[in-house]
Assembly symmetry: C2
Homo-oligomer: 422 residues x 2
Amino acid sequence: MSLQSLTTDELSTFKAEQEAAYAALGSAGLSLDITRGKPSPEQLDLSSALLTMPGDDFRSAAGVDTRNYGGLHGLPELREIFAELLGVPVDQLLAADNASLSLMHDTLAFALLHGTPESPTPWAGQDIAFLCPSPGYDRHFALAEHLGFRLIPVDLHEDGPDVAQVRQHAADPAVKGIWIVPTYANPTGAVVSESVAAELAAIETGAPDFRIYWDNAYAVHHLTAERVKTPDILGLASAAGHPNRPLVFASTSKITFAGSGVSFLGGSPENVAWYLGHLGFRTIGPDKVNQLRHARFFGDADGVLAHMERHRAILEPKFAIVERVLSDRLGPHGVASWTQPKGGYFVSLDVTEGTANRVVQLAKDIGLALTPAGSSFPYQTDPRDQNIRVAPTLPSLTDLEAAMEALATCVLLAAAEKAQTP
Amino acid sequence: MSLQSLTTDELSTFKAEQEAAYAALGSAGLSLDITRGKPSPEQLDLSSALLTMPGDDFRSAAGVDTRNYGGLHGLPELREIFAELLGVPVDQLLAADNASLSLMHDTLAFALLHGTPESPTPWAGQDIAFLCPSPGYDRHFALAEHLGFRLIPVDLHEDGPDVAQVRQHAADPAVKGIWIVPTYANPTGAVVSESVAAELAAIETGAPDFRIYWDNAYAVHHLTAERVKTPDILGLASAAGHPNRPLVFASTSKITFAGSGVSFLGGSPENVAWYLGHLGFRTIGPDKVNQLRHARFFGDADGVLAHMERHRAILEPKFAIVERVLSDRLGPHGVASWTQPKGGYFVSLDVTEGTANRVVQLAKDIGLALTPAGSSFPYQTDPRDQNIRVAPTLPSLTDLEAAMEALATCVLLAAAEKAQTP
């Protein structure tokens, strides 16, 4: 029965029930954590073969000794595999070290220190703003804020950022870019449609070097039998006359080992040359032995997809638990809505407006760690104080179910408190 | 017999002999390369055990799953080993990815974008200069130049940079730092003495955030039985009231695998906190699996030293060849001088003034690749056109001997040409 339709007495009774349930949880001495999108140990075990690779054969397909210096582009055979998966021409895809976040940082740092191909004047010292489809990835927003950019929220729909809002803001030359996780976005699971991607590629922007930071972190991280396809943003942008607009990022962090994977950067030939031109002063090359490990482990693009099916087998039951508990416990009361992602690492839960912070505090007090409310918004501020990001991948099934039950109680209690407030 | 003491006729004869020898080399179809300080395959083989590590036991000493995210400081057990070797307190030493050059780049980028602890104003947009003890490491100078810094050469003596020159230049607030390879410098093998280090630590500088980029790349890379000790620059600077002045860099690039090693950054507690404060926006952590591999492979600091003895066994005969050929072929003619380093990767050869470029060109024309003349100087310009960096580590003994013989012929021919020029 929806909370809104309860009488004052019924609401008091309901609230008392939640308080009792909450008190019981408090006595249970929980210690649960659904804060970060980390792979579980079982998922990491899927890549155990990497731990003894490459073995004695340390030469690349082309005969290069991967143990020595060199090879700024990264290992060709690994780039070929991910070129196919990411839909980026292999000449335009670089393989790097263990973190795509570092590639995002460094491309922005290079733009700040040296300028971009279209703006030889460095960005540093200018007023710069980035568009932040929200809710979105907290580390994107934090990085841009740390670099001194203004963060401008735009709405994120199921098919991508609100194009009208993007168009309006991007007319301002100070707006230099937009963060986008095109496939299975963190945290809503949104997937950018072909038409939205085409519009973003074609929009007239005030800045000649407006950039789409296309962070395809979950390109192959399917949770259903459907393998949702990411739009070819590089092709679309090139066709629209803006070849340098997109920078494509990806990594194996949630494919193999989260701390010891390989990251990828794709872009137009001009952007790739620009990036390498600066990178060459920063390093002599990436860890090619680790790239060789990965190339051998996967074999080919189909090998990656088969590997992701094994991840899915572990993750699908976890997301099913989230859906079941939220549906069973919250569904009847009309106090929340949540996403049913087809891939990725998160469920985005919207609780009763004005109660997200309260829910997180209630949870914390009984030993359930949640991502701080507002984390998915620019400046960590959710204007409606309603969004909570649920990360179900790391805990065991048992712990996850306990966490979700506890979370549901906190959501209901906070909603009841709110409903009683005049 | 010294070239200077020859009669005109004797000089003509001598030159004709060199021309004949050079012509013979030209017919031999050489393909030799002594350009870069790369480890040889035999050296890389010393670390073959890494290629199947860490195996099933992927947990750190503290029980951390190294495969997952986290651990910005790097793996404690590896930091402990190198803290001992580098003389840096372990709390003040970070373990990072595969390239110390990247750490140098990033600390400079952070200073440019955010400022340092003593200069909250970002460096970007300011007139900045760096002192470049010369001859020195080409990539240091290239990085500083790429970042827009002015490069100011200072003399490098056998015991380190010329302190009087450093003192004079550092009085200028635009001078923000100095590059130093304290032990077995690239390319001269110079070792900074205790007293020079103490003076550098204590100098009054115009910039409150003057930095010593103390690149201890060859800390344990001994070529003789003597293990030359690097001065404790952090301790000296702290005692002199400038704890934030030095930033210490090192890596295992020339200990294990040149492309797949681990780098280190040491500094004052304030500098370390400053660096981590920015790094946390760039990455979630380094490749801990690779760090675990290295910690297990070495065992302890003595393990590193024993490993370096095995490198020495491979390298000592190579440096002996360089010394023997230069001594035999050039010694009698008074046309060149060269270093006899106690460690590191290079021999610095000073040929007849005004002929280094000619020597490199002569060598190239007969199939011997040398580092471009001037590489070891700011703006790639050797004011005396006399320095050539010899990198003997990569070639086989046979190739190295052939390369040195060819080089000697080119040096003698260029000297004879020069002596004939009015």
